[in-house]
């Protein structure tokens, strides 16, 4: 096994660089667990307080976009926990999102059970499913792209299963019945109610909190140690599998929350919306654009990527003079979106937040 030299294993971080807030580069003032000002928490509270005022200033259609940002954020944060901190590249996060969405919808539509219970059930099922899949995958030593492909296939299996399953309403999926009354317990408000946003914001905050606590916890550190080198970790007494599975479970549960929010807000879910590859892509795009393996990256990524497609569309709806010939051609907005995506990723391969933080802490 003397093959350190080779080992083309996929690592989610560039190795020469610190990736986690708890790990600062040489010479930098270090924020270490437990002995300095808990900036992460302070920033989080500030974001919530500040974010909560949005409905008072934004238009209704902006709020529709904000909702997408929240869903993206939860998914990105969830993805980042297992893929950024845990080093297991998930290419099928739709699985957990979809499980959350379907659990909520199924329990609500068929049994009139509150979405909150549905959410908890979804989180539990997603965590179990993630652990089951990852147990098998890791037991058989699937790594890097192979692990990614296993998760990809898992999401596809779920999609196709839902697609052909009667009790899950096959391709039709579930529509959440419109209620006459608003109800917290049933997680339904009148159209465009700011409550959707506020609840979503709280979910994002919860996801962030989980993420921060995880990174600062011992378990989080062990997880990152295992990510960096599982054999060395094992030789030091760490049960690599256990920490990996923990990261997967936390990640899956967080992501499932996004499923609940999605279903309750859009009131509809079907197999492709829940388990389709584009859902997984959204989670990855959010986290990577923001900064993989950083605490705040996914949130930044969501704020940037959530509105981007609307912005490109709106931009081309009333284009500047020099772009006028392109306006009105369907697809140009998507091309523009793609160009922005590619440019951001090439120029900031560590993500927006990752790059900025790298610059700031360099000196």
């Amino acid at each position: 096994m003397n093959n350190r030299t080779f080992a083309p294993r996929t690592v989610l971080q560039e190795r020469t660089d610190p990736v986690v807030d708890a790990v600062a580069p040489k010479g930098a003032g270090r924020t270490t667990v437990g002995n300095r000002v808990p900036w992460d928490y302070i920033v989080l509270v500030a974001i919530i307080v500040f974010g909560a005022t949005l409905p008072f200033v934004a238009t209704v259609s902006t709020m529709a976009i904000a909702m997408r940002v929240l869903v993206f954020a939860i998914m990105g944060i969830g993805w980042n926990i297992m893929s950024g901190f845990g080093g297991m590249f998930s290419f099928g996060h739709a699985a957990y999102f979809g499980i959350g969405a379907y659990s909520t919808a199924l329990l609500l539509v068929r049994f009139e059970i509150s979405p909150w219970i549905g959410m908890l059930a979804g989180m539990a099922i997603a965590a179990l499913a993630g652990m089951g899949l990852s147990y098998l995958a890791l037991r058989y030593k699937l790594q890097g792209a192979y692990y990614a492909m296993a998760t990809f296939a898992f999401a596809e299996v779920l999609r196709l299963f839902a697609f052909g399953n009667g009790p899950l309403h096959r391709q039709t999926g579930f529509t959440i019945p419109v209620r006459v009354e608003e109800s917290f317990w049933m997680f339904q408000f009148k159209a465009n109610s700011p409550w959707y946003y506020w609840i979503g914001l709280i979910m994002v905050a919860a996801a962030m909190l989980v993420s921060i606590v995880f990174v600062r916890s011992k378990t989080g550190r062990y997880t990152m140690a295992v990510r960096d080198d599982d054999v060395a970790a094992a030789a030091l007494g760490l049960n690599a599998l256990r920490y990996r599975l923990t990261a997967v479970a936390v990640s899956a549960a967080v992501t499932a929350m996004a499923g609940t929010l999605y279903v309750q807000y859009y009131m509809f879910i079907d197999p492709s919306l829940a388990f389709g590859p584009s859902v997984s892509n959204d989670a990855i795009i959010t986290a990577v654009v923001g900064g993989t393996g950083t605490i705040w990256g996914p949130l930044v990524g969501a704020v940037v990527m959530g509105p981007l497609s609307d912005l490109t569309t709106a931009f081309l709806r009333n284009p500047p003079q020099w772009l006028a010939p392109l306006a009105g051609h369907d697809g140009v907005d998507i091309i523009l979106y793609a160009i922005v995506l590619i440019a951001v990723v090439i120029l900031l391969p560590k993500g927006i937040y990752g790059t900025i933080r790298g610059k700031v802490t360099k000196r």
């Binding site: 096994m1 093959n3 350190r4 030299t5 080779f6 080992a7 083309p8 294993r9 996929t10 690592v11 989610l12 971080q13 560039e14 190795r15 020469t16 098998l136 995958a137 058989y140 030593k141 699937l142 790594q143 890097g144 792209a145 192979y146 990614a148 492909m149 296993a150 990809f152 296939a153 898992f154 596809e156 299996v157 196709l160 299963f161 697609f163 052909g164 960096d228 080198d229 599982d230 054999v231 590859p277 990855i284 795009i285 986290a287 990577v288 654009v289 993989t292 369907d330 697809g331 140009v332 998507i334 091309i335 793609a338 160009i339 995506l341 590619i342 990723v345 090439i346 391969p349 560590k350």
Partner: protein, 343 residues
């Protein structure tokens, strides 16, 4: 381009067994024999079961023949994907879009030349795609080759979106088609087959053979594998690795181009015509062992047959369900692919 950064440190130490190691090298005979036997047994059982479900010999033979032929198409499409993954470690999400682009180029060629034989388009399309691949790699991907997997994945997702929508913009949304002169149906053991699909299968085999020979037997091919194995070492022996990256992505894209030309005659040509194969191609690549070119052929056959036999065995379910179940089983049982080598 000059770099101020040091070369990346060597990859982190590996686990005891390298599942992720790409496997270009010779097959381990014993393991392979074992696998082949198991595969044969499973296949035989599936065939019998499917035959009973179908209740007709002709249908069964048709399913087998169609399975092999569609399998050939799948591996044709997956070839570029596996090559690019094997060397560059890029999960190329744009592979399908490239196939779609090649179909449109074929269409343009046929229309533009007043109805020339579509296969002649290979002469134009393959070099064009080669050039396109080279440009994409040189401009978009080379700058981020040291970044982790997901960064490159995202760029290919962006490329896919852009290509599909440019096709939409240029050619419009209406489906198109190209006709293959002299295309007709022939009978094989009672199964009916279109000639165009047989040509595609033959094309897949030739492509595999060519790529395999190039990789295994030529000096450049060895260099490609060397870069894939250790970029730093490759640089130190004098290989310009960025050039090899460009070459590899170009070849991979050209392979997608060849696939596009060959399947154009029996495909509905739409901007998304290639992307619908993305899922299947990923499966084929993993089944065959990522980076394993001959493996992609085997993977294609496995997927093609699974789809066909699965449809007979589990009518009413999406045939892809069977494919993905087989896929997961194989992934766990033989993590380096049916044909891959367990190191």
């Amino acid at each position: 381009m000059t770099t101020t950064k040091p070369a990346p440190p060597s990859a982190p130490p590996s686990a005891v067994v390298h599942r992720a190691t790409r496997s270009f090298s010779a097959l381990a005979p014993q393991r392979t024999r074992h696998t082949l036997l198991t595969t044969a047994a499973v296949l035989a059982a599936a065939i019998i079961w499917a035959g009973v479900s179908a209740g007709s010999g002709t249908v069964l033979i048709q399913a087998l023949v169609t399975g092999i032929l569609t399998g050939g198409i799948y591996s044709l499409i997956a070839m570029g994907l596996t090559l690019i993954y094997g060397v560059l470690h890029i999960i190329n999400f744009a592979n399908g879009a490239m196939v779609g682009l090649a179909m449109y180029l074929t269409l343009t060629f046929v229309d533009g030349t007043g109805g020339m034989h579509p296969y002649i388009a290979l002469i134009v399309v393959v070099p064009a795609m080669l050039a396109l691949g080279a440009v994409l790699q040189a401009i978009l991907l080379n700058p981020v080759m040291r970044a982790p997997l997901q960064v490159q994945l995202l760029i290919t997702i962006g490329i896919a979106l852009a290509v599909e929508n440019i096709l939409l913009l240029v050619y419009g949304p209406n489906p198109r088609s190209v006709a293959l002169p002299g295309n007709r149906a022939v009978k094989i053991f009672g199964a009916a087959v279109e000639l165009s699909r047989i040509y595609a299968l033959v094309g897949a085999m030739i492509l595999v053979a060519v790529l395999w020979l190039v990789l295994q037997k030529t000096r450049t091919g060895t260099a490609v594998r060397a870069v894939s194995a250790n970029p730093e070492g490759a640089r130190l022996v004098g290989i310009n690795i960025k050039r090899i990256y460009v070459l590899t992505f170009a070849i991979g894209t050209a392979a997608a181009g060849a696939a596009g030309v060959l399947i154009a005659p029996f495909s509905t040509i739409e901007p998304t015509a290639g992307s619908i194969f993305n899922l299947t191609a990923f499966v084929v690549v993993v089944l065959g062992g990522m980076g394993n070119v001959p493996g992609a052929l085997v993977g294609g056959f496995v997927v093609g047959l699974t789809e066909q036999l699965g449809a007979l065995i589990m009518p009413g379910q999406s045939s892809l369900l069977a494919v993905f179940i087989v896929f997961l089983v194989v992934l766990f049982a033989r993590p380096t692919g049916v044909f891959g080598r367990a190191s």
